[in-house]
């Protein structure tokens, strides 16, 4: 048996001076292989062959998109079904070749693309050479699944599609195209993209543009050269897509979140399209219509409540920065913490986020399922979790739940206020009608608690416990914690509540849970 101390506290041996091992909890961004599948399979005239064991196929094509994208399965992907013999002896060329042959017969009108996976890269299955000698050749995409992350992978897949299927057939911009705008970004596995895309299209048209191509989500592979007909490119996400926009060489803007950024987006797009007057008129109209609820809520009692409320965000780069801009900078809510994906230096990883949430929880947490689990671990009942990122099972296919644009501002604020109403409702006293007929088991010990004396130190101790609880819930929480301590004191026949009593009482209550 190995000595446990040796394992946890030992000094590194000579050959361990290499990079320290990085630990992950509840990984939130997937690999280059997934990025390739989720990008390329949105193109209906493509059929992908993944050089994969059955598990890599099932997870990316069925098990996960069932619950992220609300589709039964991705239909245009087939695995090579790598088995033990392929891994240990044969290599996967035979399996890939059989799959190519079968799919050629089944889908003669589709472009087949073979994509590598972590396991095929592990055994160095590079098929580019022999696939290129087929007639017609089959493109091979090395997804770099053992390096980089989902975001780099998405960028690489988009660039590869353009370089391989678009660039050579690109047409020069004509005078007819002056209003044309591409939207680059949405694929499978992009949280909330149908609503955001709907809103971004609305903003583009409001600013005087016409949507040319939504790439790849509403395009075919054959459409790829048409990317060159966009006078302006709108990149949906800061986490990926910019590389393709740069390569296209036209001006580009990021899709906006928040009041100011949305306004600037419409103005800049108006300038780029030579339609500034139309853009300004659109903004003026929006203030009277789409955005009017924000102005009303701001002037109403709801607006007073924003500065007293704390929130945190763990999401993609666009959502993280956008929510901080809108909620903290513009509405004045308090930011507990924010951590974007891909993570930048100084931003918390999941291990740190977990520790932080175990200690103190905000009133609102925008995040993925991972943060929801950490809240569950902390038994944080007073925190509202609002889905804002994958991973997590959530249907976001309705068009009315945007985070982007003016509609997004109103939707997010509406969500927060409604959850606030829920919070208020849940803390109001009520009579339990169903239980009313049953005899009370014990006399209420709190009637005896009025005789208890609280020391100053004990009060201070209780306040310290309250600091970990979101502000909005603190009034009811203070009542609850105080009751727990007093019930404990009465049951133990104490006259005075000391700091020790507080600790013992709260520990005893926690243990009962």
């Amino acid at each position: 048996m190995t000595d446990s101390n040796d394992l946890t506290n030992r000094a590194p041996t000579a050959d361990e001076s290499r990079a320290p091992i990085e630990l992950i909890r509840d990984l939130e961004s997937t690999s280059g292989y997934w990025a390739a599948v989720w990008t390329m399979c949105t193109l209906p005239d493509v059929h992908l062959i993944c050089d994969a064991p059955i598990g890599c196929f099932n997870l990316v094509a069925t098990a996960v998109p069932d619950y992220t994208d609300a589709i039964p399965h991705i239909h245009n992907i087939t695995p090579s079904v790598m088995r033990e013999q392929e891994v240990t002896m044969l290599g996967t060329a035979g399996a890939v070749r059989r799959t190519v042959e079968a799919l050629r017969q089944l889908h003669p009108d589709k472009t087949l693309i073979v994509v590598s996976t972590a396991e095929s890269e592990m055994i160095s299955s590079d098929h580019s050479d022999w696939l290129s000698k087929l007639d017609p050749p089959v493109p091979f995409f090395w997804s770099q699944s053992l390096e980089g992350d989902e975001w780099e992978g998405r960028d690489r897949a988009l660039l590869w599609l353009w370089n391989r299927f678009g660039r050579e057939r690109a047409v020069p911009l004509s005078a007819d195209d002056a209003q044309m705008v591409n939207i680059i970004g949405p694929t499978y596995g992009c949280f909330n993209s149908p609503s955001d895309l709907h809103e971004v299209k609305r903003l583009i048209e409001g600013a005087g543009g016409k949507v040319n191509l939504v790439y790849p989500f509403e395009a075919t592979l054959k459409d790829t050269p048409r990317l060159s007909r966009g006078a302006v490119n709108v990149v949906m996400y800061r986490e990926f897509g910019e590389a393709l926009a740069k390569e296209l060489g036209r001006p580009y803007l990021f899709a906006p979140i928040g009041i100011r950024e949305t306004t600037e987006f419409i103005q800049q797009l108006g300038d780029l399209l030579g339609a500034r007057a139309q853009a300004d008129a659109f903004i003026a109209r929006e203030k009277q219509t789409t955005l009017a609820p924000l102005w009303d809520l701001w002037r109403g009692p709801q607006g007073d409540w924003f500065p007293t409320t704390e929130f945190a965000v763990v999401a993609g780069r666009s959502y993280t920065e956008g929510l901080v801009r809108l909620l903290a900078d513009e509405l004045g809510m308090k930011l507990h913490f924010a951590s974007g994906r891909p993570r930048r230096p100084g931003e918390m990883d999941n291990i740190q986020i977990r520790e932080t949430l175990h200690k103190k929880q905000p009133a609102f947490l925008f995040g993925s399922l991972n943060e929801k689990i950490y809240l569950t671990e902390a038994q944080a009942k007073a925190t509202h979790f609002i889905p804002a990122a994958f991973p997590g099972a959530v249907v976001r296919r309705a068009l009315g739940t945007p985070f982007m644009g003016y509609s997004g501002v109103v939707y997010i604020v509406q969500e927060i206020v409604n959850r606030y109403y829920d919070l208020v409702f849940n803390f109001l006293p009520f009579d339990n009608v169903a239980a009313a007929g049953q005899p009370k088991e014990v006399a209420n010990p709190l009637t005896a608690a009025s005789r208890l004396v609280w020391s100053e130190a004990a009060r201070a101790q209780l306040d310290r416990h309250l600091e970990g609880i979101p502000w909005i819930s603190r009034i009811s929480a203070s009542r609850e914690l105080r009751a727990q301590v007093e019930v404990y004191a009465v049951r133990h026949n104490l006259r005075e509540v000391t700091p020790d009593t507080v600790e013992q009482a709260l520990a005893a209550t926690a243990a009962q849970r």
């Binding site: 048996m1 997934w34 035979g94 059989r98």
Partner: protein, 475 residues
Amino acid sequence: MSTITVPEGSPITPDLIETRAPSKLPAGHSVSPDHNLTPQTMCPAFGSLRVLTRIDGVQTAMVTDTGCLYGLTFVTHFYAARKSIAAPAFGTKELVAGNVAEAAIASCIEASKMPGTKLVAAISLCVAETAGLTEEMLPKQINGVDVILVRVPAYAIHSHPEAKDVAINALLKRYAPARAEVAEDGVERPLTYDGSNEEEEALRRKVIMLGEVFPADPISVDAVLKRLGSGLAATLPSRNLDDYKLARRVGAIAAVHPFYGGSVATLRAAGVPIISGAPVGPEASYNWIKAVAAALKLDADLAERVAVEERDKCKAVINQFSLNGRVMVCGYEGNELLYARLLVEAGAEVPYISTSIQKSLYTAADEAWLKARGTREIVYQKTLEQDVRALDRYKPDLVLGTTPLSAEAKQRGIPGMYYTNMLSVRPLFLSAGLAGTIQLIRDALERAPRYEWMREFFEGPRPPESAPAPINTMD
């Protein structure tokens, strides 16, 4: 026809490539009429993760690449447990450095820090297996917490039910090792048994059920066993780690699902009698009760009385709610044959059954029973294409399938349900399990007009009916 060029120096022996003229799919087909391309199973490794993450006090450390880790974390958090999962970053950098074992150990240490942890399961997946992570590289304990290695590369284990067996077997090998002695009476007993301990003696009269079942099933099974003077000591997979330690101390193991071959071998080596089959429907319930009584050497007359009574109760349920319709049972949970038996006994026609697990000794009895009662095809380690062709051939009234197959059925206006989500979440065993399942199936059959209405709404009126495809059982 395109030509295939095999790259020079390739270790591949060129297979004979069939030359067929390129053919468009016939109308109504969405998959290949000629090929079996898409095996149907969850990622096999998920079976192990599901079993392990659900045990109290067990934390998992997954050694794998990021795509795999993301997907398996996702499905574990959806289907198994709200439990944080630790892992090492594991890509080219770490592989080049060759520190697979260090990475695995570091994540085991992180996992062991969770308060209340009794066991850390290091899950070794495709790339870690290929990199050569072995049991000897891991400590048996870290900070007083047990560590086991569970090896589930998807390329070698072909279905997720079979990966459940891998996980349970790893636990049994650790907590119920195969050590036994032959006593003077010729009966093999584990070393812990001295014949004098009352608690041990009581345990020797009980049964452990091996098979993931709905929580109500063990309750009804226990009630029947108690009438025989026995009882259920535990059900594996269990949420309680201690239940695995009981496995070699009970009188018999009832392996109610057919895919626990590894665990069964381990327990058999420990000298524990094994009962195969499950109490589904009148006939199997009768046989199962008698088999348990025989294995435990219980009062045979009493067993006959209890078994007959249970059979009559099952028949009464069936008389009350019988089924009428043609059902395809095509899940990937490994217990499809049991459900099919139940449906057949309740009056349904089940011409086609398919599953993800392999054919084995433990599927033989159910297969023979079903084939004697009208089932024409049973496909093991099936593919989506085989299932869809069966959909063409058999024109069922209801499909209990995988998600792609159920979607295909609904697209044709046929009622379909995802087997995993809908059938694995209700009781099945004995008379108590019958009623709920039969009613679910009856309701689904009666909903058929809605499926047709929805199909027509989205897809428009059906084209005129072409000649029905001849039934072909050559698959």
